[in-house]
């Protein structure tokens, strides 16, 4: 087993706007099982950050516990990271985000981490609309603890243990829509063509952006009878639309079929281009998104793509009207203005 990645890269590796090659966005060599979907999601995050020319020191990656939550060790080695407690990543993210609004936040969680122990935290992070790209690597099981069914396992789905799941599943994308999330997408670890632009769009979205990524657990949940296996996902995958992300200040070069495509303009000037749109679906209409999702569930589709986006969203900082400056850049006089200021406040409340 190799623990050290060779130092050599392709001699003609491209560089991005900052002059970095993709190597600069990599992390340690993964220790996940060979073929784990989570590694592909890490790969997509690396590629997205490279292509967006993200400055690694401007990123904080946060996670809970699980195989999925281990992945921040395997990407963006030059960024900040916090591997928190099982299911508690949202609160750590809330604190970090409130303290330092200048960083870009990537939250990594699993279906166990977010849909079971962390469910209470997850829903409130959405309600509060943290500005975070929240990725759930969803394999329908607790991979790290040897494959017990999770709360997203579909009714009747069988893991390697062979027993059909007897509970109804939670659809994380549907739940997020219900809770008012301003960006909801679903993808598949085996479809980087879709996943990479979705991550880029999510990172550009100024509010809570959920991407629920079907990410098969090869070891415990990739068997016949599982609805989260590579084969099952490939056989049942449908898309709302093909996603292309066009960052700020670049020309749209791809050719799109007229009539069947739309542009979603983001506030920072970038554009999400959607083509081959699904019928009766408008990504900016929550109702139609919910309908499309219910329809997919009823007909056994694994619906992927951008499901809903609200470009007019207001994140927690603007709701709370907090200072524009990250707390670490405010001086002591502002952060701790002294007892006289406290007395004034108290007096005003009397």
């Amino acid at each position: 087993m190799t623990f050290v990645r060779p130092v050599f890269r392709h001699p003609e590796s491209p560089t991005n706007r900052l002059g970095y090659t993709r190597k600069f966005y990599e992390g340690a060599l993964s220790t996940l099982c060979a073929g784990c979907g989570h590694d592909s999601v890490s790969g997509a995050i690396i590629q997205a950050c490279f292509e967006m020319a993200v400055e690694p020191h401007r990123v904080a990656k946060l996670s809970g516990i699980g195989c999925s939550s281990k992945t921040p060790a395997y990407f963006l080695a030059n960024s900040h990271g916090f591997n928190s407690v099982h299911g508690r990543m949202p609160s750590v993210a809330t604190g970090a985000y409130l303290a330092n609004r200048d960083l870009m936040y990537i939250g990594i969680s699993g279906d166990g981490d977010s849909a079971s122990i962390g469910m209470g935290q997850f829903v409130h992070a959405i309600r509060r609309n943290l500005n975070i790209t929240y990725i759930i690597m969803n394999n329908g099981c607790y991979g790290l603890t040897k494959g017990q069914d999770s709360a997203t396992a579909d009714f009747g789905s069988k893991s390697k243990a062979g027993i059909p799941n007897m509970y109804q599943s939670i659809d994380m994308a549907g739940l997020a829509l219900e809770l008012g999330a301003s960006f909801v997408g679903r993808s598949f670890s085996g479809d980087k063509e879709q996943l990479i632009p979705m991550i880029k769009a999510a990172m550009s979205h100024p509010g809570f952006a959920l991407i629920d990524v079907v990410s098969p657990c090869v070891t415990f949940n990739n068997n016949q009878g599982s609805t989260k296996s590579y084969d099952y996902t490939r056989e049942h995958i449908e898309t709302t639309a093909a996603v292309d992300f066009v960052p700020l200040m670049s020309e749209i070069t791809a050719q799109y079929e007229e009539g069947n495509s739309i542009n979603v303009n983001l506030h920072d000037g970038s554009v999400i281009h959607l083509s081959k749109l699904a019928k009766d679906w408008d990504p900016q209409d929550r109702h139609s998104a919910m309908n499309r999702l219910y329809h997919a569930k009823a007909s056994g589709e694994v619906l992927t793509g951008l499901i809903f986006i609200d470009t007019e969203t207001r994140d927690l900082h603007s709701l709370l009207n907090t200072t524009d400056t990250a707390l670490n850049s405010l001086g002591k006089e502002n952060l701790c203005p002294g007892s006289s200021v406290l007395e004034d406040i108290n007096a005003a409340l009397r």
């Binding site: 099982c33 073929g35 490939r234």
Partner: protein, 596 residues
Amino acid sequence: MNPTNIKDPEYFHKVVDCQYACPAHTPVPEYIRLIAAERYTEAYMINWESNVFPGVLGRTCDRPCEPACRRGRVEEEPVAICRLKRVAADYKGDVKNLMPKGPFTPNGKKIALIGGGPASLTVARDLAPLGYEIHLFDEQPAGGGMMRSQIPSFRLPESVLNEEVGYILDLGIHAQFRTYVSSMKDMLGKGYDAIFVGTGAPRGRDLNDLPGRQEAGDHIQIGIEFLANVAFEHTSKIGKKVLVLGGGNTAMDCCRTSRRLGGEDVKVVVRSPKAEMKASPWEIEDAVHEDIPIYENHVPKSFVVENGKLKGMMFELVRAEYDEKGKRKLIPTGEPDVFFEADDVLIAVGQENAFPWVERDLGIEFDKWEVPILNKESFQSTLPHVFFGGDAAMGPKNVITAVAQGHTAAVSIDLFCQEKSLTEGRPSPLTNLIHQKMGIHEWMYDSSVASDLRYQVPHADKVKSLKDRLMEVELGYDDQLAFKEAQRCLNCDVQTVFSTSRCIECDACVDICPTDCITFTENGEEEDLRNRLSAPAHELDQDLYVSEELPTKRVMVKDENVCLHCGLCAERCPTAAWDMHKYLYNTAKAGGMKYA
């Protein structure tokens, strides 16, 4: 593209860049691993099977393998393949016992070898164990050809040469040294079943038309004759001021030899720009290190002789210009001619074959350059039982080419003597593809990729070595350095083998591959595919490995160009669709013999 046929023995052979580039196709990574494991004797025998002169070649080989080495495509310098070969020779144990031992049961056939250089000696090594009676003729006092007469001792000690020539002569070769063959006709009359001509390219070019050439007498010498005279101790000193004309390896040997025979102010003068000199970069480097300046763009104009004594030479200054086809023209710059003083001049401006001893009415045909007309595959001449090889066949090349051609000619002679076709059904290479799996993610080879830069070979002290022409300049790697250098090898013979039916298209290999070799995409024509891969793939000599169609209607395409053979794709593959297999490839030797 069609799925790659990995059953074609040449497909994986090509991936082992060094072995593929080696004229004798020495299994390089196999011996390098053995060196790392301190199994020098086995490493030596692998070399001996392929290139017959590991000790000689480990010091003097032209190393066509090194510019081809994959390592040179992912970092600055290739693996020191050649100098590792020397390590095997320096540290080996008893090899004599591992070599074929005579007397061999005679097969009743008699073969004559004319010339005793590496080409003929290779034919001898390959045919003697099969029972052929071999008669070797050479005008020199001992075997080795130009390895003895030309390559100076400070690069190749005589003891190393004697040892390796000895291994061959000890196979029961009837060698007749100091015997110049002056008539091919006579040889043909001696009843040999086949005759091999390995007489080299013994004629050094002169500059006869240059004014003053005739008057200067023996202070002007032909480079290769000078070197032979030094080697055979007919010459032991030279003037203080020496000019060496020419930019090839012979010029480098001449100037360095001159420094050791009393030359203090030795200059190399070349017509062309330095960048176009034929000499190997390392030979030039060594000459410069011995305080020998190289003057470029100087065209010899005349020898200056006063009162019958050589004074020096005049040179015209030129610059190189190139037409659209890249053809070079040397244009005089118009500056005044330059005079260099000289006590002696050595002319090293080229070499050619010469066959004054081959009568032209025997059925052996030559082209207009006096080069024998041969079948390129079998080295058979127009007279069926006469074969050529080495420098005699195609003009001056190098030792390893002579050896490779010797092997080919030996196969031909063996087929010829059995009255088999020399072109159809030549024996195919012996190949073997061996699993490297040892545990779940454990390989039988050391898959980790060392990041070290190339290690320098230690040299002897310059002051001392310039005083003694017999003192070897390069000291060779010690075992520690050899180990570290060996670790730089990427094990290109451990192949990534893909099985379409096992692949679940999880992308794990794509994600892990450090050099972006692997892409899953829709199939297409090669040109189109090359533009759609994860990383630029415009190195056209490097193949694309294409799978059959996968369930998603895509194919796996791997650009072999910069694969590190790190095995990570196979380690990350959950279904062992990728697996690492060691590919052994050995060109067939005459009679299917194995020596290692």
